[in-house]
Symmetry: C2
Subunit: 708 residues, 2 copies
């Protein structure tokens, strides 16, 4: 029985989570769909989003199938061990495609429900805050639970399909393709979505607010639907794919690390040595259940700040996760040192909630500093925001370093060989237990944002718009928190993923000494240098892509204004669909170059300079990536809230008069906010994905890096 | 005779260079000092600059003496080898102070002549371009030659004083303090000067141009003299100290690397094994002579673009350096592989001249892109500049990587053990041969900039101002080139300096295996992570310091306008001295925190996590530092020239009309330029220094990192 128990837990929890997502989807879909005016707007958003997603996934799949064939061919023809070459190539190719398919499926369904939920949230906001929160959170939770459950079930299925039941020590190596497939899709999904959302946002603002002088979300602006579509495809589908591959890559990495302990546990005569390999799956299953309970308890009342209801649900999920962590480590690993490491991970996730709030919420020094700097103009606002962004790397690096070190020492003193690295893996698992909940909160953001847009464009009464505005403010906070969480989990996971790479190298050449990543050697140094550079070049391409795509949109809106003068008077309906279509084309065109750079460079360096140089690229690229993503996310978030701080009337001059909307300072703050847009919504999130892609790509391609 | 020859060459060349600097200083000082109005302005600048320098060096020396005592005490009390502790502590302390003193002396004299040359350049511009170029270049060359000569003579003197004639293999280790002293002074000099110059610039612009609506360099603005002083203390004194420590640190590092070859050469019965240690000094001496000839030939004629005259001088210096490189490697090392490595270095310096021009000159894509983005406003200008800045890391990283690899392979295939690393060291030496010339061109920048300000403020005739404007434009180019050169040389030198650190560790514990900087180990990974973070945090502090110091200046100018209404009408003279004084205080106050962070963190990490973690911090901190400095410098330069591109009337709308000064696009370009100011003139240059400080600090403190 005990031998079967882990897999039963995983399957049952995964299916419960899928069932829960189905129930939530059903619950959301059967709800009130509001007024006819609302339905019309929502339908336009729905069509635009699904059209983009269709075209995007078609493009991604075309590239993915070519990539799968290339990877399989490279592995087949270059693997020196001919007996193994066929199986390796086939299984890697299959797991790559399964990973890509699961990620696509989760993204597609989650997004489908999200763009259905926005209308229902707007409709519910006609009546009550509590109902609106419930709809938006449940709509978001569909995505959150599907992402985590499909990632868990996908890894588990491939693991058993590739012989995990009989040879649990061999299977993890064969499923690395799953993680690569997932990050491959995630990279393009996040890049395409991120470019789309910010190009539409910047384009709509520049041509609408600046040139034509009409307000945000104004129906006369042809780009306004594209802007609302963008909120979904960037924040919702992109982040879903990001966290899908995170959970997949980290599960696989942790299982590979478990393999080296498995051998020791067997030699010690342990009853279930395979528990060391299965632990990551089981703890993830309990995390899903804890998140499920959290969602059920996240109900507010009409007077309460909606953020408090979401917070309460998060705390319940976190406490339940902690209890499960202690229980599962005692049962499966029989060693409380690892429970300690797991709790560290849960603490890190809580710490980042507060750090992100400190840096991006208006009640603290950083945002106030940016708002104050706006008084002296555009340039000082931008300088202040960059300084804040650079500064935020300190708390990120210090918290992650301490957490890694403590988890490592706990693991190392556990008496288990390789326990130190396993300790850091368990800390990562702990941090990621609440992923489904966090993702639900994240998707809450675009849903409420869209609900606000629908209310605005359908001329809903002020009371409805007041409620959607309240929810929108909460959504902005949850989006920022998720980004902090995503980058922190990437940082914590990085160490586990490097170690998995080194373990895989060791498995591939068992009779040689371990790979030494001595960065003072010239080739490893150059790998590291180029890896660090990759982060900056990739960011540059992503940021520039937004500018170019926005240019296409601006031209189209200008053209519509010029050819149809009735538009500006509100007497004609602009051609929204054409704008959506142009944005789609532009985003898909622009995502290709940075995507291919990210995939190609590690492979080229690894084949040219060898496995150790690839490790240098991986590790130093990851360090730089974490820090640059932190800078971009937090600077963007702080600029955004600096603008909101001024709009809320919190900035005053020396005489105590409010410097508010429409002031020179406000114009400067809008500049900062716009600069931050491609930072925090395109380049920053794409870097999270890139970091993990570096890990999965090196894991999969490792055999080729040993040819040199 | 052959045994004495290298030291004779070094002493004679060094003294020739000092004599040449003295001759140039004398030549500049005896020249025409222009009209009385010019003299008055120049006197104010002179007084302000010297007052700042006095106070700055007093502050630096107070910190330096405390640091010297602390370092000596730490080494004395913590060194486990008691027999060695006293000598190590004493000699390190002394060489630290000598290094600090030589750097201060070079900075002080160079700056003294520079602020005397600006007046003479303005006076010469009344008559002829050629005469003005000659004065400005000669004034700049005083600084250039003194810096390189004092660095060379200082290292040589300490080397022989510490027994280099009898035991050349032991002395290099004892002179590491010299490099640390030099970088210690450089860090604070560059930070203080960089904060001063940009705080004065931003402060004067914001309160003058934006608030009071008066033009740049207008005598009614109380901060205008502080602004002119700033050009000297930041660009001139700061960069001088930066390149002083570069040449010192790289000489010392290369000599340490020579020690390991020395042992082999002795065992082979070579006639002069010490040549491997003395080579860096000799090649530097020839570089000085080559630069001297270059300066003598850099004469233009009245019609020619002044930049061409400077270019010609540079090419002469570069070609003579290449010839000397081949000659000296054949003579001293007897191996043409190393001549090849040296030529690579010279080629890299030429490559960076073109790369910097591509990214920051108006004739190419990047600057045009920024100018075009200004049409849609402040935010798009800033986004375009950041994208360009990020992009420039690619060419930097690729050129440096290729150069390092080729130099390493040349050295490795030379048949000399440790030849690979020595090859990279010689490439660095090659790159740095023309430092004196480059530095002369660099100081040419602030001198001509000041000459323009003097002409403006003294209401000189239009013909004079036309000439100073031409020279000023050239000065901006040379300043940008020097920054590219400084960061590229830091990148090339980085590898040599890591290797020197590892060699020193080996010397300190001779019977143990070499230190392995395996970055996949947790403590080394954490050292690397925190080292990378240090770069961002330090940049944040430096950027924020500018904002805070500028705030002090704005308040003071506002106060003067308010209390004395006659000022704005031009009927009263503002209190320039008070503004200079306030800027001085603010800059000195703000330089302390980032300075102490930079010095403290490597020591704390090294003592806490050990020598390998310190190496991780050093290497990954250096990689990140090079890339972030590249981003900051080039984004700043590109924004600056984007603005100039528009001001020159090169931007046009679709109908072909010029979008020039005063347009919306121009206002946006000014925003980018202002954002770039603290990037390219404060944080970027301070990072060059920080990178080398990390090397010298770890070299000096290495004994303490072995205690763990």
């Amino acid at each position: 029985m005990n031998a079967m128990l882990p897999s039963i837990i995983v399957w049952v929890s995964g299916l419960i989570a899928v069932g829960f997502a189905a129930y939530l989807a059903f619950d959301v879909l059967r709800r009130d769909t509001g007024t006819k005016a609302m339905q019309e707007v929502a339908q336009a958003i729905f069509e635009g989003a699904m059209a983009f997603l269709n075209r995007q996934y078609r493009t991604i799949w075309m590239i993915a199938i070519v990539a799968a064939v290339l990877i399989a061919a490279l592995l087949y023809f270059l693997e020196p061990n001919r007996a193994l070459a066929g199986e390796l190539a086939l299984k890697t190719g299959i797991s790559f495609l399964v990973g890509a398919a699961c990620s696509s499926l989760a993204g597609f369904i989650g997004m489908y429900i999200a763009v259905k939920s926005n209308l229902r949230t707007a409709a519910a906001a006609q009546r009550s805050v509590v109902e609106a929160i419930t709809v938006a959170l449940r709509g978001g939770a569909v995505s959150g639970f599907l992402v985590v459950a499909l990632s868990l079930l996908g890894v588990t299925a491939i693991f058993y399909a590739f012989g995990g039941a009989t040879r649990p020590d061999l299977a993890p190596e064969l499923i690395v393709g799953f993680g690569f497939g997932a990050s491959f899709v995630a990279l393009f999904a996040q890049l395409g979505g991120g470019i789309y959302t910010k190009a539409a946002d910047v384009g709509a603002d520049l041509v609408g607010k600046v040139e034509a002088g009409i307000p945000e979300d104004d129906p006369r602006n042809a780009a306004v639907i594209a802007d609302l579509v963008g909120d979904n495809v960037g924040d919702c589908a992109g982040r879903g794919a990001d966290l899908f591959e995170s959970t997949a890559a980290e599960n696989i990495g942790a299982m590979i690390l478990g393999v080296s302990i498995y051998a020791w546990a067997r030699s010690q005569g342990a009853a279930h040595p395979e528990y060391w390999i299965l632990f990551p799956l089981v703890i993830r299953a309990f995390g899903l259940l804890a998140s499920l309970v959290g969602v059920l308890f996240a109900r507010g009342n009409e007077q309460e700040d909606p953020m408090r209801a979401l917070d309460r649900g998060y705390w319940i999920a976190a406490v339940l996760s902690a209890i499960a962590m202690v229980g599962v480590t005692s049962w499966m690993l029989g060693n409380l040192h690892f429970a300690g490491a797991g709790l560290i991970g849960i603490l890190v996730s809580v710490a980042f909630v507060y750090i992100t709030q400190y840096y991006t919420a208006g009640s603290w020094r950083p945002v106030r500093e940016i708002a104050a700097a706006s008084k002296t103009g555009h340039a000082t606002n931008v300088i202040a925001g960059m300084a804040v962004g650079f500064e935020t790397t300190a708390s990120t690096a210090i918290v992650i370093s301490i957490a890694l070190l403590v988890a490592y020492v706990l693991g190392e003193t556990s008496g288990v060989p390789h326990g130190g690295i396993y300790g850091t893996a368990i800390a990562t698992m702990g941090m990621l237990m609440t992923t489904a909940y966090i993702l639900a909160m994240d998707t809450f953001g675009p849903i409420t944002d869209n609900a606000g847009g629908i209310a605005e464009m359908s001329h809903a009464p002020a009371s409805t718009r007041h409620i959607t505005d309240r929810l929108d403010a909460v959504g902005n906070t949850t989006k920022a928190l998720t980004k902090g969480y995503a980058v922190a989990s990437a940082a914590l996971a990085a160490f586990l993923l490097f170690s998995a790479y080194l373990d895989r190298i060791q498995i591939l050449r068992p009779n040689q000494p371990p790979l030494v990543v001595d960065i003072s050697h010239i080739d490893i140094f150059i790998g590291a240098f180029l890896g660090s550079m990759l982060i900056f070049l990739f960011s540059s391409l992503a940021i520039r892509a937004v500018g170019r795509a926005a240019g296409d949109i601006i031209e189209e809106v200008r053209r519509q204004f010029k050819t149809n003068p009735a538009l500006l008077e509100g007497k004609a309906r602009p051609d929204y669909a054409r704008c959506v279509d142009i944005t789609t084309r532009a985003a898909l065109r622009e995502m290709v170059a940075p995507g291919l750079l990210a995939v190609g460079m590690p492979i080229v360096i690894g084949i040219w300079l060898g496995a150790a140089a690839a490790a240098g690229l991986l590790i130093v690229g990851t360090i730089t990536g974490i820090l640059v993503a932190t800078v971009l996310n937090n600077a963007g978030g702080a600029w955004d809230n600096g603008k909101k701080f001024i709009e809320a009337g919190n900035l005053r001059d020396e005489a105590g008069n409010v410097i508010g909307k429409g002031s020179f300072a406000h114009a400067a703050a809008v500049t900062g906010d716009t600069v931050g847009d491609p930072f925090k919504d395109t380049a920053g999130p794409a870097l999270h994905v890139l970091i993990k892609l570096l890990s999965t790509i090196t894991l999969v391609m490792a055999p080729l890096f040993l040819l040199r």
